[in-house]
Amino acid sequence: MKGYLLSYYFTNQKSIYIYLLLSIPICLFFSFTNPIMASFMPMIFLVSPATDNLKNEKDSKWMYFVSTLPYSRNTYVSSHFAFYSLLALTGMVVSLVINAIVAGSIVSGVNSALLGTGFIALYSLIFPFTFKMGAEKSNVIFMIVSIIVVILFFVYYFVGMAILSGTGNLIEEISKNLWYGGIFALIGLIVMVLSFIASKQAFKYKEL
């Protein structure tokens, strides 16, 4: 797996560093204006090289070479998820630190990080769709997954509102309440595990 990860890193190192630098002012901006979303933006920036990576591999035909290497196809799929997770984790740590300092509250930073984790984990649905439908349909896949993620978030948001209504300032309650972000992160992570299983199944016997 290390070889695959190295190839992803070398292929995307420029955009990783650019997005990492960009994520800092973006996170600062959101930390002041909307702390609850402060993690999501840096994380989505940082994971974009991982999703672009699949498209690159189709273009470079590396995807059609991996079956000739002494690793299983599962390892290849796992490496994509590992790269995606590592980048998401980097974004989360950056935003967690910035948000916690700006908001002066570790709870606010953690809550934002949990929400960001939920979003990014849900976005991992891009992988099974891409392995099944092909990287050439990446734009359609991104739109489909974005719609699914937004719908899931709004359903969750309104359920949260219904539960927290009458407890005072809603945004303030959400920011203080770790359960709100925690449950969303958990839902996202469950979807990510299902994405991982579906991706392995989609690629295991795919004819290349």
């Binding site: 070398f10 690159n56 035909k61 590396w62 070479f65 002494p70 004819e207």
Partner: protein, 281 residues
């Protein structure tokens, strides 16, 4: 080791196509080069893709290095080098980065040998490989295939796009590789390459093997009979294949010395033309 590759009764069909591989039987022994010959669409690439794991056979046995493999086996690929007719590498990397990647993929990766091959081929080490010409791309692919403990090389049109001196250089390296007890399965449109390298020839058409023969046997014992339509019995037991066009015909015959009219083959193209465009007897 008896066989580097032993394929028995391999079948492969497609849901959305009539094309299929039908009853493919093929063996490659150590110190042997097998040349796959056939027109576009004859099944050479499908066979190669099925052997290397990009596609899956419906039926049949595939044994690499005397061990039967299933679609979930992969450890044996440590000893398999594959070169396709196009660059299939992370193309934003340079050769130094490629070496780092492959040193973490192959347990037996030999970085020194890899860089020596690059120097021999005069390939740059710090230029993105996507900027390489087709010939350069093939050379780096061959360098990778030969920089780990490969015992069998599978080359799908790997010499295409190379200049004459580059091809000669590659063919010499491949000859040295075979002399070390290894084997090669090669498909190429350049019959000269196959004629130079191959010990055994496999002629394919429409997903089937028409003829398998040792190159020396083909060139020494087979012959061509030119005839006017109706003046030669194409059902003669020595006729392998024939083609009749505008009243004249040519037949590929075995045991040419038994047939008075037979002329010896000048090269494998003589046999290829009749096998690919004619009918089997």
């Amino acid at each position: 080791m008896e066989y580097l590759l032993n394929v028995q009764n391999l079948n492969k069909t497609y849901v959305d196509s009539d094309f299929n591989l039908n009853q493919i039987n093929l063996t490659i022994e150590p110190n042997t080069v097998v040349g796959l010959i056939g027109k576009n669409g004859s099944g050479k690439s499908t066979l190669i893709n099925t052997l290397v794991g990009n596609r899956f056979a419906d039926a049949g046995d595939i044994r690499f290095f005397d061990t039967q493999i299933s679609r979930d086996d992969y450890a044996y690929k440590e000893h398999l080098g594959v070169v396709f007719d196009d660059l299939r590498l992370p193309n934003k990397l340079n050769a130094k980065q490629i070496s780092k990647v492959f040193s973490n993929i192959y347990r037996t990766w030999d970085e020194q040998h890899f860089f020596e091959m690059l120097e021999n081929f005069e390939l740059p080490k710090e230029r993105q490989i996507k900027t390489f010409s087709r010939g350069m791309s093939m050379k780096i692919s061959i360098s990778i295939a030969l920089s780990h403990d490969s015992k069998l090389l599978i080359l799908d049109e790997a010499t295409a796009g190379m200049d004459v001196s580059g091809r000669e250089e590659v063919l010499e390296i491949l000859e040295d590789f075979v002399d070390e007890g290894n084997g090669i399965l090669i498909s190429s449109h350049i019959s000269e390459d196959i004629e130079t390298l191959a010990d055994k020839l496999v002629f394919m058409k429409n997903g089937r093997i028409l003829l398998q023969e040792h190159k020396d046997t083909l060139l020494n014992d087979y012959g061509i009979v030119s005839f006017e339509e109706g003046e030669f019995d194409v059902n003669h037991s020595n006729v392998v294949a024939y083609r009749i066009h505008k009243g004249t015909g040519k037949a590929l015959v075995n045991q040419n010395k038994d047939i008075e009219l037979a002329q010896p083959l000048k090269n494998i193209d003589d046999a290829t033309k009749i096998l690919m465009r004619g009918e089997l007897a």
